[in-house]
Amino acid sequence: MTETLTGAQIAIRLLERQGVRTVAGIPGGAILPIYDALGQSTVIHHVLARHEQGAGFMAQGMARATGQAAVCMASSGPGATNLLTAIADAKLDSIPLVAITGQVPRAMIGTDAFQEVDTYGLSIPITKHNFLVNSAEELLEVIPRAFEIALSGRPGPVLVDIPKDVQTQAIEIADWPAPGVRQMPPAADALAISEAAAMINASKRPILYLGGGVVHSGAASVAVDLANKANLPTVMTLMALGAMPVDHPLSLGMLGMHGARCTNLALDECDLLIAVGARFDDRATGKVAAFCPQAKIIHIDIDPAELDKIKTAHVGIAADVQEALERLSPLVSANPRREWNTRVDELKRDFPQHMPDLDLPLSHFGLIRTVAACLDDEAVIATDVGQHQMWVAQAYPLRRPRQWLTSGGLGTMGFGVPAAIGAALAEPQRTVVCFTGDGSILMNIQELVTAAEENVNVKIVLMDNASLGLVHQQQTLFYGERLFASQFKATPDFIKVAQGFGIAAVDLDSAANPCAALMEAIARPGPCLIHASIDVQQKVFPMVPPGAANRDMIGA
């Protein structure tokens, strides 16, 4: 039986068939046929963002919390350009995203038509792949393929640009294509796996180095099992936090620019670095030539282009990291490794992460720990970008993969609030906390009204130092204390702003009992802004100065 459908109806039907149940976006002229079809869908819930970047980050929040590809939509021209930052962010953190944009009709492409921009050309360097769809027929191939590409191999964003006349073109459909699903890469090379196992077995001072790929691959538990079996001290990148519970005895927490001193010093002494789903980012390695100077390297990553990109591996394995670890683990001998773990414990004892004032709920670390005390591991913790992000990375007891949503590679201020909304939409049973700063929150503040409209269970903890804290910190430390453009001369009344957008707000500064006020705000369902002023003089320490070796950290 055939039916006659427009390109727009086909696109929406294909999204339904993919299992998409929530999309975020903003309509506009060139995508109205798709919105018309979307309005008729009984299974897809559309979340109307207030800025396309917000829609992009909401989709990211859904994808990061679930591991499934998520969809955002925008019209042509400014709608599409507003999406670009969220797409670029997804590229750098390998997040499966399908962005659908309207485009002017094909006959008008290249004429500088109203709201025409070269969305295809603009998105080439920031997508895993992109399509400019030429006919309604082509949608049947392109949309499942977009999901397959977004989910397969190293995940990433895919953009599908659909001209308006393709959306309105009606064709007869007899058969529907299968939904696009994740394709598995070839199995890990058996010889390389056994070489890697021999290297681990022969090593005296190995360290397991977990990256975001471990979370994407669903390999966290097999990685922890391997660490347990061979007693491998384990470091995590910012993207991998939660892969191993931070209070696990083998965990050394986050490495790199704002890692604990003991973590970076242990890496300095290791004789074997087992990098899994990590890409030797400069914020993790510091000065590359001085990173793990004594270590041989095993590098396992699903992206062959990551092997030997920054550091040459002695054994490089291009494979799904879960599959590779599952095959590696049985070949690795159980080993108490007492001498090395004693040494690592010494380093932990002598050079721990310094966290003052944990018992003061209005200190930066105290606030983070008090929030943690109100929640269990089922909560999702999102952040924006800045000092607050690094403090949460250092202090929050993350214990579960996909518990932690943060903009790592691109470091996008404005990520937090919409990403938290997306996570809450995808996983309504969870409490989602978004730690943010007064700089970051203003970059997507308009999404507070979306949070109110959707009544999502998002608690925004605003750490307000009335400045761009990391800029302030760098100017203080490295630019002769010449503070410029890092302190806000005017600041909004965030309580009134939140209330004006229709969400509850609590000011811990004026609360008689900040702990009780915080607990009550977190326990109350629905969106809430929790404001706390923090001291602008507080720094993210320790810190590896830009360009320095990780061993040369400054600060406590």
């Binding site: 295809y120 050309g121 080439i124 360097p125 895993k128 792949h129 992109n130 400019l132 590409i149 992206d303 062959p304 282009a305 030997d308 990109k309």
Partner: protein
């Protein structure tokens, strides 16, 4: 690369890349974009359809550079790249065209 004089450029060794791709608008941007956004100059480009025109072959003349193996890996990741092969700079595809490029 761009700061080198013409003589310095000629003194560098060259490589020829042969890239089989799907033939549709935008493929050239994907391939060349990998080089341009790393300020890696492409000295020569040739492209023609192959067989029935569903695929094309792109020939690139590039300077030898420590980044070339990484460039080839990145090119292999492109959805529209079917295969990539590396040849020596003396490959006939560019040398036989020299007559068309006399100053």
């Amino acid at each position: 690369m761009n700061a080198l004089t013409k003589n310095e450029r000629q003194a560098l060794s060259r490589a020829v890349l042969e890239i089989d791709v799907n033939n549709h608008p935008g493929v050239m941007s994907h391939v060349i974009g990998l080089f341009s956004r790393r300020t890696y100059n492409v000295e020569g480009i040739l492209c023609l359809p192959v067989g029935d025109g569903a695929c094309s072959r792109i020939w690139l003349l590039v300077n030898e550079d420590a980044r070339l193996p990484q460039m080839m890996k990145q090119a292999e990741k492109l959805e529209d790249v079917i295969a990539i092969r590396r040849h020596h700079a003396d490959h006939a595809v560019f040398s036989e065209l020299e007559d068309f490029f006399r100053p």
